[in-house]
Structure formats: C-alpha cells, structure tokens
C-alpha cells in the first residue's frame, strides 16, 4: 500500500494513453527498495516490462541467485563471489589453462568448466557443442555487462539456468514454434515444410544459444530479460517473428539450406522491431504475466 501511495497517480493513465515504461523505472526502484527483495515480483516485472539498463545487472543477479534478496548481505556475498572468481582464475593460471593473452570469453569458459568439474585434461582439447553455446552466450554477455566478475557470474548462472531449469522445456520449443507459426502464418509453414526446411531451421542458434550471436546485444538483452525471469517461450516467438519479418525473403527461397543460411545471418537493423513484436506476440499468445500477489 505504501508503494501505491508513492506512485504517481497518473501512472494508470500513462499506460492507457500508450506511454509505456514511464512508471516502470519508478516501480522497479520501489521494488528494489524493499529489504529482502521480492523475487517473484521482480520476475513478474521483468516479464511485463523491459528492464532499465541501469538496474538490469542487479535484477539479473538477484533473479539468477547470484545475489541474495537481502541488501545487507549483498556486499558480503559479492565479496565471496569475487573471491571465488579470483581463486578460480588464479587456479587456472596456475595450471596454465589461461594466460593473460587468453580472451576473456575463453577464460569464462575455463572457469565454468573448472567449477562444473568438466575441465579437460588439456586446453588444446576440442570444444564440445555446449562449450560453444557457452562461448556465444558469454560473448553476448560481455557486451552487456561491464564488470568481468559480474559477467562471469551472470553467464555462469544463465547457462546453468538453461541447463537445469529449462532442460526439459528447451527440446519442446521447436514443436511450439511450428504450432505458433501455423497459427500466425500457415502458408509460410507449408512453404517451409515443402522445402523440408522445418527440420533444418537453426534451432540450436535460436533455442540453445538464445539468439546469442544472432541478434545484436541491445535487443538481445530485452529477450534475455524474459529468459532470465523464467520464460523461455519468448524464444519461440522471437523465432516466429523473425520468420514473419523475413517472410518474403524466406518465401522466395526454395532451398532449405539457403533458408537456414539466411536465418543464421539475418540483417541486424530490424532486430529491435522484431524483439518488440515478438514480445507483443508472446503477450498475445501467452497472456500478460500478472503477479499472483
């Protein structure tokens, strides 16, 4: 109740008139003011609204469990995290897995591998596909988060979330993709099926890497807001929207290989619009998430 009183009474009308996000920052600040942050509310918020970039890292860290909900312990926990980061980095350096010349992304990967006990015997061992996924995500993350410790931790937890929380739902996404594409544009779907391209679409790029490397980071982080806040379904809609946006080009292509190639390297200029539309589409099909409380 106190929150409501502090809020601008016009906020209701802003939304009605179409100014979105005016009050969002404020409401987020209100949310963040709580000692013992309400994670559910944060989830709902980040699903409904785009996060202001200044709070994004904090919210992500909280949502990914890097920071506890208590403000008091933040510093301490962050200290722990940093310590862990430096320990691991040191260890890697000791065993000469990384050097100063090693690119930051690979350092993250090695650290992640070490922490998950999957460090190969030698740094020269070929990378596994999941490592590639990690690299892609880490690369995108590096762009979004400045601090390397934060970056490492967010990447690590993000990937862990993908591997644990979404382990079951990720393989279902292609099916859902087909379903929603059919709802949106069945002709396109039939065309794809005719070209037998459905099975060869870049699902790995879309759903395993969460469009890392596919969309520019500025728009990608809006997608990842949703992913971090617990909805991986947004990926499907982004994919659908990509196809819808480039429908004409896709329809013009008859070869499944060409289609795949094109989809793997889509033009970056319209990505913001794609993401906005995809989020709208997502809201349309899955309903606007409402905080149960």
């Amino acid at each position: 109740m106190t929150e409501d009183s502090q809020r601008n009474f016009r906020s209701v009308y802003y939304e009605k008139v179409g100014f979105r996000g005016v009050e969002e920052k404020k409401s987020l600040e209100i949310l963040l003011k709580d000692d013992r942050l309400d994670i559910e509310k944060l989830c709902t918020f980040s699903q409904r609204f785009p996060l202001p970039s200044m709070y994004r890292a904090l919210v992500w860290k909280v949502l990914l469990g890097i920071l506890p909900p208590h403000h008091e312990s933040h510093t301490q926990v962050m200290m722990y995290r940093k310590g862990q980061y430096s320990d691991v980095l040191h260890a890697l350096k000791v065993v000469r897995f990384v050097s100063d010349a090693t690119p930051q992304v690979e350092v993250y990967l090695r650290m992640y591998q070490l922490e998950s006990g999957k460090l190969p015997r030698s740094p020269s061992f070929p990378l596994k596909p999941e490592d590639e996924v990690f690299l892609a995500i880490a690369k995108a993350m590096e762009e979004m988060v400045e601090d390397s410790v934060d970056c490492y931790w967010i990447t690590r937890c993000f990937v862990n979330q993908l591997n644990n929380k979404y382990r079951d739902s990720l393989p279902q996404l292609p099916k859902a993709f087909e379903q929603y594409l059919n709802l949106e544009d069945s002709r396109l779907l039939s065309h794809l099926k005719m070209c037998s391209a459905m099975s060869r679409l870049p699902y790995d790029l879309w759903f395993k890497r969460c469009f890392a490397g596919c969309l520019p980071e500025s728009s990608l982080q809006r997608v990842w807001d949703k992913v971090v806040s617990g909805s991986c379904k947004i990926l499907v809609f982004v994919a659908v929207e990509i196809l819808l946006t480039f429908k004409l080009k896709v329809m013009a292509l008859n070869n499944s290989e060409k289609i795949t190639k094109f989809l793997e390297n889509i033009p970056q200029d319209s990505s913001d619009a794609i993401v906005s539309k995809a989020i709208d589409l997502w809201h349309k099909h899955c309903g606007t998430p409402v905080h149960s409380a």
Partner: protein, 1167 residues
C-alpha cells in the same frame, strides 16, 4: 518332301485293284486325317480327286471329320473359282453334302456358298449350272436359315436359269437345257416350298417386267401349275419365312418333305398327311379332263387302279368303274368317288383340256401320218414344226430331250399307235386309258428318276417276263437295227434322228418301256418292227408335247391329252390287247417293288439285264453297227456288276460312270478315221463334239440321279420317322387297351366294394338302432336315478336345516347359561363385598368411639394448658431486642467484608488485563522474532550459499591442482634417473608448498591447512614411492607436524569457546585427538563469537530482558548450534575434504537441522 512322295504313293495305291490294299490305304488316310489337323492332306486329296476322280478318295473326302471340313471347303472354294475345275468340284461338293456331313451347317457361313452362287449367276456352262443348281437344291434344306442372306441370289439364279431355258443363250446344246430345265423345276419347287412369300413376290416383281413375260408364260407358268397354294402364303409373311426359329424345328428331310407337300407333281409330291387324297383328286381329275393341267405322271395310284381295272374296262370300257373297285386297296375307293364327280367337277379343266386339242392336232397329225416303222424322222420334223418352239428345231436336241423325257415317250408309243389305229373306236373308255397311259408313264418316270427303284423294279417285273429276256434283247437289237434302217432310210433328211432312238433306249425308263413294249409285242404278236416303231413314236410324241423345255413332262400334259385324245380313239380299237398287257404287267409288280422289299429277290438278274440292255444300247448309239464292241463292253460291265458288297445304288452310279469311262475308252480306241467314217456315215456330225455332249449328258444324268437319290434318302428318313411314329402309336394303342382292361378290372373291384359297402351300411344301421334302444333305456334309468337323487337331496337339505336350527338353539342356550353363571358369580362377589364392608363399618364405629373419648380427654388438657399460658406471657420482649442488636452488628461486619472483597476483585481483574496485554505483546514479539529469525535465516542462507559455492569452487580448484600435480608426478616418473627424480621431487614439493602459500594471500586459513593436510596426506597415502623416496623420517615428521599445525590453525577460536561453557571443554578433550575424527567441534567453538551469535543475543536482549536471563543458557546453546551449523558448512569439513564423498552430505543436513532446531527451540523458549 518325303511325306509328299509318300502321299503320292499312297494315293496311287488307293486305286489299286487289290481290295485289301485299298482298305489299308484308306485306313491310313483316315488315321492321318485324325492325327493331322493341317490342310495339306485334304488339299492333296482334293487335287488328286479332281485329277483322277477316284472313288476311294471321294469316299475319304465325303467322310471328312470336323476339323478338316474347313480346309475342304476352302479348297473347294478355291477350285470353284477356276473354270476348269469347277464342274468336278461341284460334283465333289454334291457328293459331300448329299451325305449330310456333320459340318453341313457351316456351309451357310463358308465362302463356298457365295462363290457357288456367284458361279451360278455368272457361269454359262449348262453342265456346271445344272450340277450347281442341283447341289444348291440339295443344300438348301440343310441351311434354310442361310436363305436370309442369299435369298435374292437364289431368286436371281432362278430367274436367270429359267430365262435360259427359253432363250438358250449362245451355243448351248438343247439337250443340256432339258437337264437344266429339270433342275430349274426342282429349284422352283424348293424355293416355292421354302420361301413361298418371298418367292411369290419375287416372281411377281420379276415377271411383271415385259422382257420376262415370255419366260413366265413359257417356263414359269407351267411350273406353277404343279404346285398348290402354299399355306404360308396365307398365314406367313416374308419375315416369318426367314425367321431362323421357323427352321430350327425342321430337319433337312422335313424341309424336303415340306417342299414336296406343296407339289402337285407326282414325282415331287409326297402323299402323306392327307395330301394323297387331294393328289388323287387332282391327279384323277386331270385325266378326266383329258390331262389338261395335271402331268401325266400324277396318277400313279390311279394308274395302278386303272391297271388292275383295265381288263374289265378294256373289255367294257363304260363299266370300268365298278371293276376298278376291288383290285387296288386304296386307290379304287377314291377313284370311285372321284370319277363321277370328276367329270362334273373338273369340267372347267375339261374345257381347258378341250381347248388344248386344237393346238395338239397339229402335232398329232404328223405322228399319225407316219408309219410305225418310220416314225422317227417324220415325227421329229413334224414335232418341230407344230410345237413351234425354236429350241426343238435342231434335230439332236429334241432327241436328247426325248431321252430325258423318258417317261413321256413311253406311253405314247404304246398308246399312240393304238390310238391312231383305234381312232375309229368311240373314245370314252380310251380317255380313261389315256389317263392310265400317262399314269404308266408316271410310274415309269418315277423309277426312272429314282434310278435305283427302277432298277429294282425292273428285275421285279422283268422276272415275270424272264423267259422273254433273250427275246427282248433280240428285240432291242432288232429294234435298233430297224431303227437304224429306218434312220438310214430317212437319214438323208434327218441324220440326227438316229441317235435319238438309241438314246431313248439308253435311258433306263426307256428301256423299261422298250422292255414293256417288247413283251407287249410278243404276246400281241406284233412285229418287231412295230416294237421298234413303238419307241420312236413316244419319242416323237414327247418331243411334240414337251418340246425342249421339260424333261419331267410337267408341261407336257397340256399337249398330251390332246394328243392322247386324238390318238386314243384310234388306238383303242386295234391295240387294246397290247395295252392291257402292258398296263397289267408293270403296275402290279411295280407297286410292291417300289414301296416294299422289291429289291430282294432278283437283284443280280436285273443288273444283268440292265447291262445287257443298257450297254448294247449305248454301243448301239455311239458305234452303231459294232456289235463286237458291245460284246466287249458287256463283260466289263458284268465285272462291275459282280461287286457283291455294293448296293444297287452304288452299282448304278458306277455303272453309269464306268459306262461313260468305257465309252470314252472305246472312243479313244477307235481310230479317228473310222470314227469319222462312222459319223460321216451317219450324218457327218463331228464325233468329238458328240462324244462330249454325250459325256456331259451322262454327267448331268448322273447328277440328276444323285439328286433324286438324295431326295429319296430324305424320303427314307422321313419314312423311318413315320414308321417310328406308327410304332409308337401302336404301342400307345396297346397301352390304351391295357389301360382299358385295367379300368374294367378296377370297375369290377369298385362294384364289389360297393356291394360290401351296402352290407356294411345295413349292419351299421342295425347296430345303431340297437344302440339307440339301449341308450334310451339307460337314459330313462338315469332320469329315475336323478329323480331319486333329487329327493334324497331335498331330504338331506331339510335335515340339514333342522340340524342348523338345533345348533342355533344350543348356542342360545349356552349363552343363556353363561349369563346365568355370570350373574351368580356377580352376586357372590357383591355378597362378599358387602360382608367386608359390614365388618369395616363395625371397626370404624369402634374407633370413632375411641377417638371421641380421646377428644374429650384432649379438650380437657387444652383447657388446662390455656390456663398455664396466660400465666407465662410477659418475659419474651427483652430477649428479642438483644437478639436484634446482635443481628445488626453482625450485618455490618459482613458488609465491610464484602466491600473489601470487591475491591480485591477489581485489583485482581486489573492485574489480569495487564497480564493479558503483556501476553499479547509477547506473542507479537514472538511472531516478529520468528519473522526476523527467518529473515536472518534466509540472509544467512544466501551468504551460506555464496560461501558454499565458493567452497565448491575451492574444491574444484584443489581437484584441478591435484590433477595437475598427479600429472606432473606422472611425468616425472616417466623420466629416467632416480636422482633426477628426487631432486625434481623435492623441488616439486617445495613448489607445491610455496603455491599454497601464495594462495593463502587470498584464501582463508583453513584452506591453507587443508592444502597442507592434503600434501601430508599425499605423503602418507602414497605408499611405495614417496615413502621410499622421501624416507619415513623427515617427511613423515613433516606430515605429522603439518597435521598438528593444521589442527592448531583450524582452531584458533578454541580458547573462547572453552571459556564459553562446559560443552566446549568437553569438546576440547575430543579435539585433542586426531583432528580429522571430530570435524564438527573444530568449527563449532569459534562460532559463538560470530556475528550471528552476537545478533541473536542482541535480539533477545532487546526483546525481553527478563526472560533472556532465564533463557540464557538455552540461547547460548542455540547460538552454538547455529554456529556449528554455519561453521560446518563453511569450514568444518575442510579436514574431511580429502576423503572426497563426505563433504557434500553434511552441508544440506546441517542446514536442515538448523532450521528445525531453531524453530523448535524458539518455541520452547517462548512457551
């Protein structure tokens, strides 16, 4: 090729004279035909036949089986197309179809039929035409349904050929035309019989054309006079005729008979199914009417009748009718009836007949005028002129005709001469005779046409005349000589007349005639010259009458009667006797012989006769004066005739054929000059031509013969069927008779049964009566008994009512009794009660008395006491006052007490409220505290998790290090020298010790200790090599020291905990032991001072000071446990880490424990 050669051999062997060889070869051929389905063999056979006309091959070909018929037909079709082989092919076809092969139905589809028709339409050779027409006529009944397609072809052929008969296109020999005419006549019959409507319409359309009118008048009309109106013309239609269903029911012979039925011509007609009567009538009438319409042959039967009757008639011409009756069984009756009416009925025809004479006289006169002996020449000439037919004009032609018209010529000769002579006599009877004469002719003609019959006949009646045979021969010869002589005499004018005579003789009928004539002559003792003259005369007559057109004399009658009439009067007188004899002789014999088993008796002799008769004649004809040759031929013929197995028919066929052959041979043998001499001698006609005509004639004759034979066969078939019907009818009659007998028997039975039935009925009625009486009796008895029963019943009812009355009375009485009893009891009861009351009242009275006494006593006492009371009343008031005061005081006391009490209550209540508020506060506090605790817990957990993850990371790091170390060790070991190894190892160890030191900067102490322990462990656990390399002393000591140091290091906070409480001291003792064994204590002690503990203490102190004191101990313990939990998670397990698996489980457990314990204890505290 070998096979072909073989075939040739076989074929040549077929005609070998040895019978067995022939049979064998035939069998071989048949086998081959059975085995081989190809056309080759058949083709070869056909070729061979056409070449040689071998009988055996013919036999084989005509008996071909199903698959070969096609080849045969094809082959024949092929040959029919060729003019040269046409005739022989047609004759082969005729042979084949006359046998009615099983494949005859295929003929209608075979290409042969159209080509045959085409040939008939196009060909100009009369022989071929005649043969073809005969074949066609034979074929027609076999394929009646084929008419549909070819009907117009048939009609066209008919039209063409009939016009031929008249017009004689080209150089056709007259003599052939006679044959042709005969076949056309047969065709006419066949077509009219089979397709009357179509045919009539064809005739109508065809002969209404002017150019055909003459043909109709001359040719067709006469033909039509010999047919009845066909019933189909009335009932049928054109389409109906062609309907295959109509033909399906009819077999070939049925068709033939059908055709025969509509014919009025006795040679054609059949006499069954009641037609005979009409025939007789029609036949008989014409004679009456002087043969105006009917052919002379019609009345064969009549002739018999007449023949038999002739004797009387001859003697008494007018009374011939009665005399006729007895001898013939069937004929006389109709005759009788017919004759008289005929005269009247057929007056028109008579008129017609009358009308004719004028024409005939022209013919007759020449005949008459001619002397008997020299009849030929003059008559011929005469004939030619009167008949007015140009066809007859060429001398040879008429002669030939005369041959064909065998029948015709015969009678005239006999009749004519007499007639001429008898002209003086009144003519009536002669008329009759005239009819007979034609009849006779008919008889003769019939046999003549049916070859075999005549042959068989001949012996029959010749047998009778056997004695005269020789004389006949002689007569013949003589006759021939005479003829020749006469010819010679007349030859100058008519050279060709001569052949005529022999030819006439050549024909079998003619021979008969001549034979007949001869006997006639002998008895009559006429001169041989007369006999000779007999022959020519008929010829002339026939020539006159028939002209060239009809061999069968169908048309002759018209003229015949005339001639007959004219002649009859003349002839009757003089020649009655010869006539009689002549008539007598043939008829009786002929009838049986023709119809029945006439064949049986004298077959061989007739042949002999024939040959003797025929061959000389032929010889006579062709080589007129060479009797030697005749003699030569005779043996040859005799040989043939001797063939035992051959039927007369075959014999005849062969006879004729071989006759022709022999003839040919003879001719060939003759030197040309001689021939020429001969011929020139006789008239100079070219012999080769003559021979050819003769041969063709022979051929035609043979064809005709075969056709007639075919017809006969059909008749035979028909007869067989009829016979079967007769037999069946007889059987049915028998059956009927048997049934009738049975019926009679059954009727008898029925009568017997009826009688017995009546008896039984009587008995039954009697029994019924008896039963009735008994029943009546019984009924009366029953009635009586019933009456009795009713009476008894009534009685019983009465009794029952009485009984019931009694019962009722008894019941009433009983009731009364009961009432009385109750009354008695009641009274008794009342009595006892009364008595009791009485006693009671008595006792009450006593008491009353006693109480009254007491009352009195008490009254007295009361008075006494009242007196006393009045005395004592003043003392009571003082006492009451005192008591009141006491009571008041007491009340006051109590009141103050109550006040006091209420005050106390208030205070206590206030106190309670206070306490309750306090309680609520405390509860609230508790909740807050709980919340806070949880909050703290969460916070701690977050930190804990971070720490844990850090710890995990550390663990991983150490693992990596270990791995690395092990790796390095492995590498080291791989390197060769011990020393080097040692050196390196020490270095490595140092490096390893240094490294953790480096780490210590960032890492916490326990980590370092841990790493030390790890290294120590490594040193200890590595059994062989490290031990051996480092030695148990130095290194081992190092290890232990490190472990101890680690324990010291890891428990820097021990002292405070020891101070904290007894627990810790106890733990302390435990920690004195190897550090690894008790990890928990290590961590638990220092934590008391940790920030959590502090916080907790602060918290509790804030909330409630008083209680804190009380709960101090517990709180401390709680905080300790908390600490232990936290520490355990953070540090405590560091020593255990080397063991690997252990570290993981405790941490969650400890957290869980913490949670539970915390909560519970908090509860306890507050409660």
């Amino acid at each position: 090729m070998a096979q072909q050669a073989n075939l040739g051999e076989l074929l040549s062997m077929l005609d070998s004279p040895v019978l067995s060889v022939r049979d064998d070869v035939t069998a071989v051929f048949k086998e081959n035909l059975n085995a081989d389905r190809g056309p080759m063999l058949v083709n070869t056979l056909v070729d061979y036949y056409l070449e040689t006309s071998s009988q055996q091959v013919l036999h084989i070909l005509t008996t071909l089986q199903e698959p070969h018929d096609k080849h045969l037909l094809d082959k024949m079709n092929e040959y029919v197309g060729k003019a040269t082989s046409r005739l022989s092919t047609l004759s082969l076809l005729g042979h084949a179809i006359r046998l009615q092969p099983p494949w005859k139905h295929k003929l209608s589809q075979a290409p042969l039929l159209p080509s045959l028709l085409k040939c008939l339409k196009v060909d100009t050779d009369v022989i071929v035409l005649t043969t073809g027409v005969l074949v066609l006529i034979t074929m027609l009944p076999m394929i009646p349904q084929a008419g549909k397609q070819h009907l117009h072809d048939f009609f066209d052929i008919f039209g063409r050929l009939s016009s031929w008969c008249l017009k004689k296109p080209g150089h056709v020999a007259e003599i052939y035309l006679v044959h042709l005419h005969a076949s056309v006549y047969a065709l006419f019959h066949r077509l009219y019989g089979m397709y009357p409507c179509n045919f009539v319409s064809f005739l109508r359309s065809h002969y209404t054309m002017k150019e055909n009118l003459e043909t109709f008048e001359e040719v067709v009309k006469p033909m039509m006079e010999h047919v009845r109106i066909h019933p189909e013309l009335v009932t049928g239609s054109k389409d109906h005729e062609l309907d295959p269903r109509r033909w399906k029911k009819l077999e070939t012979h049925d068709v033939v008979i059908e055709c025969a039925k509509i014919s009025l011509d006795p040679t054609e007609a059949s006499y069954e199914d009641g037609y005979s009567v009409s025939h007789q009538n029609s036949a008989r009438l014409p004679p009456r009417s002087a043969d105006v319409t009917a052919s002379p042959y019609v009345d064969t039967q009549n002739s018999f009748g007449s023949v038999t009757s002739t004797p009387p008639s001859v003697s008494r011409p007018m009374s011939s009718t009665p005399g006729q009756l007895p001898p013939p069984l069937s004929s006389p009756a109709p005759r009788l009836s017919a004759e008289a009416p005929q005269a009247t009925l057929w007056s028109p025809s008579l008129v017609c007949g009358m009308a004719t004479p004028p024409t005939s006289p022209g013919n007759v006169p020449p005949d008459c005028s001619q002397p008997y002996s020299k009849a030929f020449g003059a008559p011929a000439g005469g004939k030619g002129t009167p008949s007015g037919t140009p066809a007859t004009s060429p001398p040879p032609a008429p002669l030939c005709h005369s041959d064909d018209c065998v029948h015709a010529p015969l009678p005239p000769p006999t009749a004519a001469p007499p007639r001429k002579e008898e002209r003086t006599d009144p003519a009536r009877p002669c008329l009759h005779r005239q009819h007979h004469l034609p009849n006779d002719r008919g008889l003769e003609e019939l046999p003549g046409s049916k070859g075999a019959v005549t042959l068989s006949d001949l012996p029959g009646f010749l047998g009778g005349l056997a004695s005269d045979e020789d004389s006949i021969e002689k007569d013949n010869e003589e006759a021939a000589i005479y003829k020749e002589l006469s010819e010679i005499t007349t030859a100058d004018t008519e050279p060709l007349a001569e052949p005529l005579v022999p030819r006439g003789g050549f024909d079998s009928p003619f021979y008969q005639d001549s034979l007949l004539g001869c006997p006639r002559k002998t008895p009559s003792a006429t001169t041989s010259a007369q006999g000779a003259s007999v022959h020519p005369e008929p010829l002339n007559a026939s020539l006159d009458k028939l002209g060239p057109d009809t061999p069968k004399q169908a048309f002759t009658p018209i003229e015949l009667p005339g001639g007959g009439r004219d002649q009859s009067p003349a002839g009757s007188g003089e020649h009655q006797t010869p006539l009689e004899t002549r008539i007598l002789t043939p008829s009786p014999f002929r009838v049986p012989s023709q119809r029945g088993a006439g064949f049986g008796s004298g077959q061989p002799p007739p042949y002999d006769h024939l040959f003797e008769v025929a061959l000389p004649k032929t010889a006579h004809h062709f080589v007129s004066k060479k009797t030697k040759e005749l003699v030569k031929k005779m043996p040859g013929n005799a040989e043939e005739a001797c063939a035992p197995s051959a039927s007369p028919l075959e014999v005849l066929d062969r006879l004729i054929q071989q006759g022709a052959d022999a003839h040919g041979k003879e001719l060939s043998r003759l030197s040309l000059p001689s021939k020429s001499v001969d011929w020139t001698h006789f008239g100079g006609s070219p012999p080769s031509d003559e021979i050819r005509t003769l041969r063709n004639q022979l051929l035609l004759l043979h064809n005709q013969l075969l056709y007639e034979r075919f017809k006969r066969q059909q008749h035979a078939v028909r007869n067989r069927r009829l016979l079967r019907r007769v037999i069946r009818a007889a059987a049915l009659e028998e059956h009927n008779a048997a049934m009738k007998d049975q019926l009679k028997l059954q009727e008898k039975d029925i009568q017997i049964w009826k009688v017995s039935l009546q008896k039984e009925q009587a008995r039954y009625s009697q029994l019924q009566e008896q039963r009735d009486t008994v029943v009546a009796q019984l009924h009366s008895q029953i009635r009586q008994l019933q009456h009795d029963r009713e009476e008894f019943y009534n009685q019983s009812q009465e009794l029952q009512t009485k009984l019931e009355d009694c019962r009722n009375m008894v019941a009433e009485l009983r009731l009364e009794l009961k009432k009385a009893n109750s009354k008695v009891c009641h009274t008794e009861l009342l009595l006892s009660q009364v008595s009791q009351k009485l006693s009671n009242s008595e006792s009450v009275q006593q008491q009353m008395e006693f109480l009254n006494r007491q009352l009195l006593v008490l009254g007295e006492v009361n008075e006494l006491y009242l007196e006393q009371l009045q005395n004592k009343h003043s003392d009571t008031t003082k006492e009451v006052e005192v008591m009141k005061a006491a009571y008041r005081k007491e009340l006051e006391k109590h009141r103050s007490h109550a006040l006091q009490q209420s005050q106390r209550l208030d205070t206590s209540q206030r106190r309670v409220l206070e306490l309750e508020a306090q309680l609520a506060k405390k509860d609230h506090l508790l909740v807050e505290q709980k919340k806070y605790l949880e909050d703290v817990k969460l916070q701690a957990r977050g930190q804990l998790q971070a720490a844990e993850s850090r710890y995990e990371a550390q663990k991983r790091i150490t693992q990596v290090f270990e791995l690395k170390v092990l790796d390095l060790y492995g590498r080291l070991e791989k390197d060769g020298l011990l020393k080097k190894l040692e050196v390196e190892k020490t270095e490595a160890a140092e490096a390893a010790e240094e490294r953790p030191d480096c780490c210590n900067d960032s890492c916490s102490d326990p980590v370092r200790g841990h790493s030390d322990t790890v290294s120590g462990h490594n040193g200890e656990t590595r059994p062989p090599r490290p031990g051996s390399t480092r030695g148990g002393g130095g290194r081992g000591g190092g290890g232990s020291s490190s472990s101890s140091s680690s324990s010291q290091l890891s428990t820097p906070e021990k002292p405070p905990t020891q101070r904290a409480g007894p627990f810790s001291s106890r733990w302390e003792t435990a920690t004195g032991e190897p550090s690894t064994s008790i990890p928990t204590t290590v961590g638990s002690l220092p934590s008391s001072k940790s920030f959590l503990g502090m916080k907790a203490r602060e918290l509790f102190r804030n909330k409630s000071e008083s209680q804190c004191d009380e709960d101090g101990v517990t709180i401390s313990s709680l905080s300790e446990t908390l600490k232990t939990g936290v520490d355990m998670g953070m540090e405590a397990k560091t020593p255990l880490s080397p063991d690997g698996p252990r570290p993981a489980p405790p941490s969650p457990d400890s957290v869980g424990q913490l949670h539970i314990m915390d909560y519970n204890e908090a509860h306890q505290e507050h409660s």
